[in-house]
């Protein structure tokens, strides 16, 4: 069997490519190693009835995969740790139809103009591979606009004074602000920051044949039971409705087939365990910044930069406990954000200088609470105090937090490779993550964290605490969380660029030396910026698909 394109991965990137190519009349097969819990495949305009407000299923029992027993990953901070220091769950972005889009709470900011040219604007950093992107914001802008229309983004143009140029307003107004966010936004404004409604891919009004969000609160880490979250449901539904796409869940692509000059198809293992192959004119990789380089390495690709420059947002988590109940279980997980800490100012320049760094940048700050009682219960000690704590709820109902998605500099030593020993249940070597933050993000976090704590104090916090994920020496609250990064924002392992010796793919995601093999996911990112990667990777995937047609 031969098709126009095979797409490996059904998340936001793969769904975007599949939608664009099927719209152009191409035949596309989408491979997904996880199960389908997203669409009713007998009528793809409808949700499967599998998602629910169930903390056990989604947070304790790996419903969206990957299950760390059958699909583990390994981790080490550096080769000094030996072959690995941890085996099991490492950065488990979902392995399921819809990929990371199913569990995200749908915050979809754009990057800003300067994010694409850090090297020319600010210069290099020691031990980091800071570089300009091979494309400018202006070239991506039409694809950002198209992406916002396609998945349905609620937001308010002009509300963020630092926002990048937009050629069109958001297709929907913002949803209702959470009670806690109304308080933290007010406090942030009083201290000179500029909070604005978070651009969110959850319907505030009926859109694209999907209903408005009903504020159930089980948003981040949960699949949406009513398809109010549009990413990547909207794109996948459209691809399936075209009649030109075939979705193959529970099917693991084990090898990219080539004739040396061209990709010719893929080899895969279906749900029954048999190995087969499929020929295609184009092979599109959209398995995410960990599984995409893993597949390339499993297939024998040997460009020295494959797997290198892994980036994960360095999250600074600032929590405060408040006298009033904040009922964060109602509404979207995050309704307000602010960008001020991404910009450099006098104080941050001074902090950089003092640390011996040329510059530091923070990241977008999310205003949010916590809502899940099992997760809360596990943070308190057992014994007579347990029920007192749970009733008073300092760490859930009375908690409000900021999470800064700190820009993480690319370092060639931070990487994904194949673990020399650990295997998945199918018998293939698993991805090994070697990762340690650069001084840049630690210094930026130490600078901005206490400033965010001041906002929570003004909001009325009894106490505040600053910590980071990953945790590391020199960071605030070191040792509270693990050295394994918790952010699912993984980027950069198959970087794009103009120079074939300094990059693996071009600005359309095409391999420099094999132009019918395309990477469409966040693996291609050159810098991590201080913003969630989803809308940018959707825009890039859309541009990559346009490059094929």
């Amino acid at each position: 069997m031969s098709v126009d394109a095979v797409v490996v991965g059904s998340g936001p990137a793969g769904s975007t490519v599949a939608e664009a190519l099927t719209r152009a009349g191409w035949t596309v097969v989408i491979f997904e190693k996880g199960r389908n819990h997203l669409l009713d495949l007998s009528d793809p305009t409808k949700p499967a009835r599998d998602f629910s407000n169930d903390e056990i299923k989604f947070l304790c029992r790996h419903f969206l995969g990957p299950d760390p027993i059958v699909e583990p990953r390994t981790f080490r901070s550096s080769p000094e740790d030996g072959e690995r220091s941890h085996t099991g769950e490492v950065n488990s972005i979902p392995s399921t139809v819809g990929g990371g889009g199913t569990h995200a709470d749908g915050k979809v900011p754009r990057l800003r103009e300067e994010d694409f040219k850090l090297l020319s604007l600010y210069g290099p950093q020691r031990d980091a591979s800071v570089a300009d992107w091979p494309l400018a914001y202006e070239e991506l802008e039409p694809f950002y606009t198209e992406a916002e229309m396609a998945i349905g983004v609620a937001g308010q143009a002009g509300a963020n004074p630092f926002e990048s140029f937009r050629s069109a307003p958001y297709p929907m107004p913002p949803g209702p602000p959470m009670f806690g966010a109304t308080l933290s936004a007010k406090a942030a404004e009083a201290l000179g920051y500029h909070p604005y409604p978070a651009p969110t891919a959850a319907n505030s009004v009926p859109y694209g044949g999907r209903p408005a969000c009903n504020n159930c609160g089980f948003c981040a880490f949960f699949g949406c039971p009513i398809h109010a979250k549009g990413d990547p449901v909207a794109l996948l539904m459209a691809a399936m409705a075209s009649g030109n796409a075939k979705l193959m869940p529970e099917t693991f692509v084990s090898k990219i087939l080539t004739n040396g000059r061209r990709a010719t198809g893929v080899e895969f293992i279906g749900p029954d365990g048999t190995k087969r192959s499929m020929e295609a004119r184009y092979v599109v990789l959209a398995a995410g910044a960990i599984e995409t380089p893993r597949l390339l390495l499993l297939s024998g690709f040997d460009h020295p930069l494959i797997g290198r420059n892994l980036m994960v947002h360095f999250q600074t988590i600032v929590v405060g406990s408040f006298p009033m109940r904040l009922h964060s279980e109602r509404g979207r997980a995050v309704t307000h954000v602010h960008d001020d800490h991404i910009l450099m100012d006098r104080d941050s320049r001074a902090a950089a200088r003092e640390a011996g760094l040329p510059w530091i940048r923070g990241g977008m700050v999310e205003h949010s609470g916590t809502s899940l009682p099992i997760a809360e219960a596990k943070t308190y000690p057992w014994g007579p105090d347990h029920k007192v704590q749970m009733r008073e709820s300092p760490l859930r109902d009375h908690l409000w937090a900021f999470t800064m998605q700190g820009e993480d500099l690319a370092q060639p030593t931070n990487m994904v490779d194949l673990d020399p020993q650990v295997r998945d249940a199918r018998g293939f070597p698993v991805a090994r993550i070697t990762y340690k933050p650069h001084a840049h993000e630690v210094v930026a976090s130490c600078h901005h964290g206490p400033r965010l704590a001041e906002v929570l104090k003004l909001m009325g916090a009894h106490w505040t605490l600053v910590t980071t994920t990953p945790s590391c020496k020199g960071a605030l609250g070191a040792g509270i969380l693990s050295p394994i990064p918790q952010s699912r924002h993984v980027m950069g392992t198959v970087r794009m660029g103009e120079n074939p010796s300094a990059s693996v793919v071009d600005s359309f995601g095409r391999f420099h030396d094999m132009d019918n093999l395309v990477v469409a996911d966040s693996s291609v990112f050159v810098t991590s910026a201080g913003y969630g990667p989803t809308l940018t990777l959707v825009a890039l995937a859309s541009r990559a698909a346009a490059g094929l047609r």
């Binding site: 629910s52 059958v70 014994g383 347990h386």
Partner: protein, 196 residues
């Protein structure tokens, strides 16, 4: 302390003796106080027993179905469970039963399952665990920190998770903390989101 009629083993996997020890141990982790009930009244031991005995059922009781429980409208779908794929079944059999020397389960070496951890952990707490006083029970729990950490993880899940998994009986866990639980398809109104 009498376990009462609410705390008879459902007999999924644990023996009567193990169930009693487990119930008393869980009650030390999440004890009742003057204001709200503890782990025994919430049936948390049934949550553990249902997990350990998940494969006594078809489909196995791993993931409750959706999209609604019926508590806020919609169909009571949580009472049924998802079919597992072959890969899901392999993962959960390894997690619950352990690898048991079966080559297919030992691709990364031998794995101890939850059943064995519980059988050994409960035995280590002692046959007399239910008869000794609370302070002595706490000492035994502290003497087995690894098992107690596992117990506590499951205690929290059984206390504050959906009742279809065996615990949180009569929504005791959620009611005691004022948590609404799964609210689909009702959700919350915009005013309930934004107002104090």
């Amino acid at each position: 302390m009498d376990l009462g009629k609410d705390a008879q083993t459902m007999g999924y996997w644990l023996t009567e003796q193990e169930y009693r020890t487990l119930s008393y141990a869980l009650e030390r982790l999440i004890p009742a106080d003057e204001q709200t009930p503890g782990a025994i009244q919430a049936g948390v031991a049934d949550y553990v027993d249902m997990l350990l005995g998940a494969f006594c059922f078809d489909p196995p009781r791993i993931w409750a179905k959706g999209p609604t429980s019926g508590r806020y409208g919609g169909q009571p779908a949580f009472g049924e469970f998802h079919e597992l794929s072959a890969l899901d079944e392999l993962a959960w059999r390894i997690r619950i039963e352990g690898s048991k020397g079966i080559p297919e389960r030992e691709f990364n070496g031998a794995v101890t399952g939850l059943q064995e951890s519980y059988r050994q952990g409960l035995a280590a707490l002692g046959d007399d665990f239910c008869e000794i006083d609370a302070q002595a029970q706490d000492e035994r729990l502290r003497a087995h920190p690894e098992f107690t950490a596992l117990l506590y993880e499951h205690a929290c899940e059984g206390m504050y998770g959906a009742p279809e998994y065996g615990g949180n009986k009569d929504l005791i866990g959620w009611r005691s903390i004022g948590f609404a639980g799964d609210v689909q398809p009702r959700g919350w109104s915009d005013n309930e989101v934004t107002s104090r």
